[in-house]
């Protein structure tokens, strides 16, 4: 075995270094250890220079509990061999760790993985026993820690609360930010359909008052189309050029609400408009037609000017086309 030295190794060592006869070396090593043994028996104490002291220590009889059965058992008095190495030997063995020193720790330094032990435990036990004997002092001592405990708890809660709050606020902020970014990033606008209806319905009466001919104005998507077709069907019998008029009326009204459910023809330029910062085609579409979904018409009408409809440079002057609903549909419907 590499990590073990047995008696034979020692004998070999002596043979090598002292040119001793193997028999003599063996006899010497044997005598050395048997003499220690005999000396221990005789004097209960052997001191060997350069090695250390062997001592016999008597251990008094004591009571213990059998680990398996739980019964109380008596351990008889016995002697044990203690070996105390000499200082030089101790230092030689401890050479790898010799540079370490015992360090006085400051109060705020803590090691969670190491249990703290009192130097002499008997002393602390005595200290604990004294108050238990005096009941009066004991109660005083007990009451103090009790009053101390809640204040400590409060401190802990106060210390912990900001952490919880900060983390919660951070989490909330990240969530809200993410939702906003996603809403802006994806082109969708989450305005419910019912709200749009409300919006259009509110605008409808206002415009009917302002404009002379309500049937000519195209308002909310389905309802207005139905109204308009009704009016057209009535009038188509009597006046066929009424439709032409309605088309002209659209031009005169600057802001109108056009539905994106109907297809339109572009008939001439209504006006020109210069883009300002923060404006998009959809914005302009909303401004002129009251419907931002009609921006493709703007893009198509300004094909030569706008190269990328998603990114129109500021200051670009675009033409705003006049949008007229496709004739075929509006004519066909009344006939049906």
């Amino acid at each position: 075995m590499t990590d073990k030295t047995i008696r034979q190794d020692l004998i070999d060592f002596l043979i090598e270094h002292h040119q001793m006869e193997p028999a003599d070396a063996e006899a010497f090593v044997k005598a050395f250890f048997t003499l220690i043994e005999e000396a221990l028996v005789r004097d209960r104490y052997v001191k060997i220079k350069g090695l250390g002291t062997f001592k016999l220590i008597e251990v008094n009889a004591r009571e213990s509990v059998d680990v398996n059965t739980g019964e109380r058992i008596q351990i008889k008095e016995y002697t044990k061999v203690s070996f105390i190495p000499e200082a030089s030997v101790r230092d030689a063995v401890n050479k790898p760790f010799a540079h370490f020193e015992t360090v006085l720790l400051k109060d705020d330094v803590h090691f969670s993985d190491m249990p703290e032990s009192s130097e002499n435990e008997e002393n602390t036990v005595e200290v604990q026993d004294v108050p238990s004997a005096e009941n009066a002092s004991n109660s005083v001592l007990q009451s103090e820690p009790v009053s101390e405990a809640p204040s400590r708890m409060e401190k802990n809660i106060v210390m912990r609360l900001p952490w919880c709050m900060i983390s919660a606020i951070l989490l909330l902020g990240v969530l809200v930010g993410g939702i906003v970014a996603w809403m802006l990033g994806s082109g969708r606008r989450y305005i419910p359909e019912s709200m749009l209806h409300c919006y259009f319905e509110n605008q409808k009466p206002a415009e009917t008052i302002s404009s002379d001919k309500p049937d000519s104005v195209m308002l909310a998507p389905v309802v207005t189309v139905a109204v308009r077709t009704d009016s057209v069907s009535k009038k188509s019998v009597t006046k066929t050029d009424e439709k032409g008029k309605t088309a002209k009326e659209e031009i005169s009204i600057r802001k109108e609400n056009l539905s994106d459910t109907v297809e339109y023809d572009m008939t001439g330029t209504k006006t020109t408009y210069t883009l300002r910062s923060g404006e998009s085609l959809a914005r302009i579409s909303l401004k002129f037609y009251g419907n931002k979904k009609l921006w493709p018409y703007l893009a198509r009408y300004n094909k030569q000017i706008i190269k990328n409809p998603n990114n129109v440079p500021v200051g670009t002057t675009i033409r705003i086309p006049v949008l007229v609903p496709k004739r075929t549909k509006s004519v066909e419907r009344p006939s049906n």
């Binding site: 020692l10 063995v93 015992t102 006085l104 032990s117």
Partner: protein, 96 residues
């Protein structure tokens, strides 16, 4: 029994001079310690084992001053008596 008595007894038994016995004893002990330093266990039949044990670092508290000390790890030389030695000592001491 101190060292002087031990050496003289040893020389008397083996028929060496005290000087020879001292030198051989010294070299024997040096050999043992050298092996121990290399991390080997020295086992002697019917006697016992010398071994080096590592003790981990620990925190000790002075109960009077409440000062806390970090005690560094160290290597300790231990002797563990063999069973036969134990038995011999037991029987011999009980005889006394």
């Amino acid at each position: 029994m101190n060292n002087k008595e031990f050496i003289s007894e040893l020389s008397r038994r083996l028929g060496y001079t005290v000087k020879d016995a001292t030198t051989v004893t010294d070299s024997l002990i040096a050999c043992i310690i050298q092996d121990l330093q290399e991390g080997k266990n020295v086992t002697i039949q019917n006697f016992g084992t010398f071994e080096v044990k590592k003790k981990m670092e620990r925190i000790s508290v002075n109960p009077l001053t409440k000062q806390r000390f970090l005690v560094p790890p160290k290597l300790n030389l231990c002797f563990k008596p063999n069973l036969t030695l134990k038995e011999k000592l037991k029987s011999n001491t009980s005889d006394d």
